[in-house]
């Protein structure tokens, strides 16, 4: 088993512009096997648990979304949520897994 997980891809969909006060939808996707700790490999050895356990988003440094993930969540978790766009700036996305690896991505938004 690769440790930490190799070739993790993240995808984001954040509107590039919004009007002040608009509720925008943000969609995120990350490639991660989400080993639940209950599965075995082809040799019959238990694959240790390694899931994305936390997903956190900040908007210009302010926390706007945080989620704790559990082992029953499938591989490649897709997470969507809404935010009120009130200022031009940056969204920072961080996914953290059980190995302590943090996968980061970023998106800009212009609010007028």
């Amino acid at each position: 088993m690769p440790n930490p997980i190799q070739n993790v891809e993240t995808r984001l969909r954040v509107p590039s512009t919004a009007t002040k006060g608009e509720i925008i939808e943000i969609k995120t996707l990350i490639s991660h096997p989400m080993y639940s700790g209950f599965t075995k490999d082809s040799a019959g050895k238990t694959i240790p648990r390694d899931i994305i356990n936390t997903f956190a988003v900040t908007y210009n440094g302010r926390p706007v979304f945080k989620m704790t993930l559990q082992p029953a969540i499938s591989a490649n978790p897709f997470i969507a949520f809404s935010v009120v766009a009130d200022q031009t700036g940056t969204f920072d996305f961080t996914w953290t897994d059980d190995n302590g690896a943090a996968y980061k991505d970023q998106a800009q938004i212009t609010v007028s």
Partner: protein
């Protein structure tokens, strides 16, 4: 466990996709039907279809991104990437995926896209072949086939390909396994009937490599064939066996004219 995971996926998706689901469904389904041929899309649930329709929520695109990177990365002794010879995939690979499997004169047999990619790697790039069902082979296959998305499946079943097509048909019609069942019995004779809670589709392969929620991964058509063979309690054949490539050709020909959907999403 699998069931629990399945519910979790569904729950998560419903939250995310409820807004995009159920838009102009009728016209959309018509696009995936040609005469009597129905893509697996028609049999999929509205949530699964919505997942496929939005390139963002379609997890198959995680592999596509990887394929795009691989296309431009030089490998092997020749120091060449796919792009060195083929340029932009969007133009050079357009329509290619819709024609596979094809008869290859140099090999003297019908080969599928996976085999073509690995032949290019070994004969032209001086690189090691990708292992079957590896992330990279799936990514490359899906990326090449994506360039034909929406184009009609157009495989050649005549000429030198004829004997291989007939072999594929023979495999399709042959009963096998402890359940003594053929592909044809489920997907033709009992098409539209229920198998437990699932409706039996026509077993069309226009969306492969497909992201199956059950697999939580993209998978090749040969993986699907192996799964079907196991379900009738037959010994699955190894990846890349000629029987499966012939079968790919035959099953593709049953869906002649259906749009390529790679990467499709199925349950």
């Amino acid at each position: 466990m699998k069931l629990a995971i399945g519910f979790a996926v569904t729950a998560l998706l419903v939250v995310g996709l409820i807004a995009v689901a159920r838009s102009d469904e009728g016209s959309n389904l018509a696009k995936h039907t040609v005469g009597n041929e129905k893509s697996g899309y028609v049999y999929a649930s509205p949530d699964t279809r919505a997942m496929q329709d939005d390139d963002f929520s379609n997890p198959g695109f995680l592999w596509i991104e990887r394929g795009k990177t691989l296309w431009n990365t030089p490998y092997g002794a020749a120091g060449k990437s796919c792009a060195t010879c083929h340029g932009a995939a969007a133009t050079s690979m357009k329509g290619v995926g819709a024609k596979y499997p094809v008869f290859d004169a140099a090999q003297g047999k019908v080969i599928d896209i996976e085999q073509r990619i690995n032949l290019e790697r070994t004969t032209r790039m001086g690189a090691a072949p990708f292992p079957w069902e590896s992330r990279d082979l799936l990514a490359m296959t899906a990326y090449v086939k994506l360039q034909s998305r929406g184009m009609p499946v157009a495989v050649t079943t005549s000429g030198p390909a004829k004997v291989f097509w007939l072999e594929g048909k023979r495999f399709y019609d042959t009963r096998r396994g402890q359940l003594d069942m053929s592909c044809e019995q489920c997907h033709v004779q009992n098409n539209n009937n229920k198998l437990r809670s699932n409706t039996l589709s026509q077993g069309q392969i226009n969306g492969f490599p497909t992201y199956r929620l059950k697999w939580q991964s993209l998978g090749s058509v040969q993986r699907r064939f192996r799964g079907c063979n196991k379900k009738v309690r037959a010994e699955p054949l190894p990846y890349g066996s000629q029987e499966y490539v012939d079968l790919e050709l035959y099953v593709a020909s049953l869906g002649q004219g259906l749009p390529v959907e790679t990467p499709a999403v199925r349950q």
